[in-house]
Symmetry: D3
């Protein structure tokens, strides 16, 4: 597995456990709700992940971007489609999205390597 992908997943899992161990009900319910949000509905899962990704990009949240890149990869988003999502994010959010696009592009490459 790619080191970048592995490190992201490990830290995420480890800290989620710390947070959940404190039993804050609002945090727990928000996380369940977050999972529900991306489930199949009137829109399919793939579209919803793309929506979550573009929202994360314009809000410039690198870890959120990585998470949705991973899910989008699993759901079969192609590289050409991915760069059209990047384009929407950069046009709506401006050139301040570029550094986040660089890190997204790097992680997207790692996800392909990862799978080989």
């Amino acid at each position: 597995m790619s080191k970048l992908v592995e490190e992201f997943n490990d830290y995420r899992t480890r800290m989620n456990e710390v947070i959940l161990s404190k039993n804050n009900l609002v945090m727990k319910r928000l996380w369940n709700l977050d999972t529900n949000t991306y489930e199949e509905g009137a829109l399919d899962k793939k579209t919803k992940e793309m929506l979550g990704l573009v929202a994360s990009m314009v809000l410039r949240c690198d870890d959120c971007i990585k998470y949705h890149l991973g899910k989008s990869y699993e759901l079969g988003v192609t590289t050409e489609q991915m760069y059209e999502i990047f384009a929407v994010a950069n046009i709506v959010g401006g050139t301040i999205v570029i550094p986040h696009t660089r890190r997204a592009a790097e992680y997207w490459e790692e996800l392909q390597t990862n799978a080989q």
Copy 2:
């Protein structure tokens, strides 16, 4: 035509003319590029408009939301799909997105009325 929709379109058209009349090349080219971004590609127009909409919602830009609501309506997004987009925006962006969702919901109702 609904008054809310009409007022939005009129002000937008009028001020776009003022801005374009100044012949700033960067502004003109950015606007052309903005149009290109939402054209059919590896992703279809409807998906791209939904991406533009969710990005506008989490960035809390009411006029951008109205614009993409109008386009999404024309392209046949259903109310059930629309509220799933609202849900993604509210989960990713938090409860500060709620007031913008209220105005989006109002405008979405007006668009239906508009068409009758």
Copy 3:
């Protein structure tokens, strides 16, 4: 009742009804969760409303600010305390918070008038 306070409450109620009528489960659950967040816990209600207010101020969400001003008023936050919250918001968020502070100050005055 002050016109400003009444208009805010009326529009909010009316549009919340529109949104809830669409039966989007994520939206409904997020709203319930939002209510839970501000309930008495390890921190008291008043502190939680002040936290919600300062968060709304730095994120510059006028309607969210109005909502938390109303709740803070009901829970007995004094004007001197309120302006210390305004001060934190303006220092953390910068002078771009000033216009929102003006509207907050106006609404806070209205809430007092309202009660007379």
Copy 4:
């Protein structure tokens, strides 16, 4: 005087008085400091106002934009220069800055009318 300019100035003056009347020391000192920031220094006043304007535009604060437009107009920024500032703001901040640019363009026109 243009109605748009007058209304902005009047509301601003009136609410500043309300805020200052509460004698919150942090708020008072922040406002003094805000004034100092734009005084002549290693950079001239005009450059500083342009910096304040572009910062206000990318942060999408309409009232802050109006304030710096007024100051920039007084200090002799030309329309051609102004639109180059708009261009930087739109490129850095993306198309979500466009609706704020429309309102800025409208106010800039009013400032010229105002002076006639």
Copy 5:
């Protein structure tokens, strides 16, 4: 002392010295004002630090979060209270606050270790 806490404090101290050595009066006065903002007043220090923390969380400023976590720890905020602040920040600011909450949770654990 925990390595994470020590590194944060060291870098902060070192760079503050660089900045202050340039004698920019506005920067110096802003920093003094920042200190004043959190002093005992109509609200106690602990409440003010919690306000500063939640504001930093929704604005997603990791270093600001660390600073206020340190202060909150010194002032006796409990872990249960801390997670209620996290909950407000995540509800108001949305799931994009989660990655910052992970880093906040990690730093909060380190602060306890630090003290042993």
Copy 6:
């Protein structure tokens, strides 16, 4: 060459190549347009770089800040002028800009060292 400056430039160049290799037309045209934006016009290059810098600071984009610091250095912005730009950014954007100012101050020092 300073290690900090070199690492920034290397990563930027490497990832730009990855992104451009995918031939997304919107991304390519946005990047060209970005270059055009800072060219000599009614405002000179130095002023435009300062505008780009202050916009990047209030939007808290560290990589964008580094890029404009590099350009500003090449165009002869003095340290005294630079700290006046920092001051505007910190006043407009608030104390959440401070951590980014620390990293900007560090990079600015490295640029001087770099040149020796």
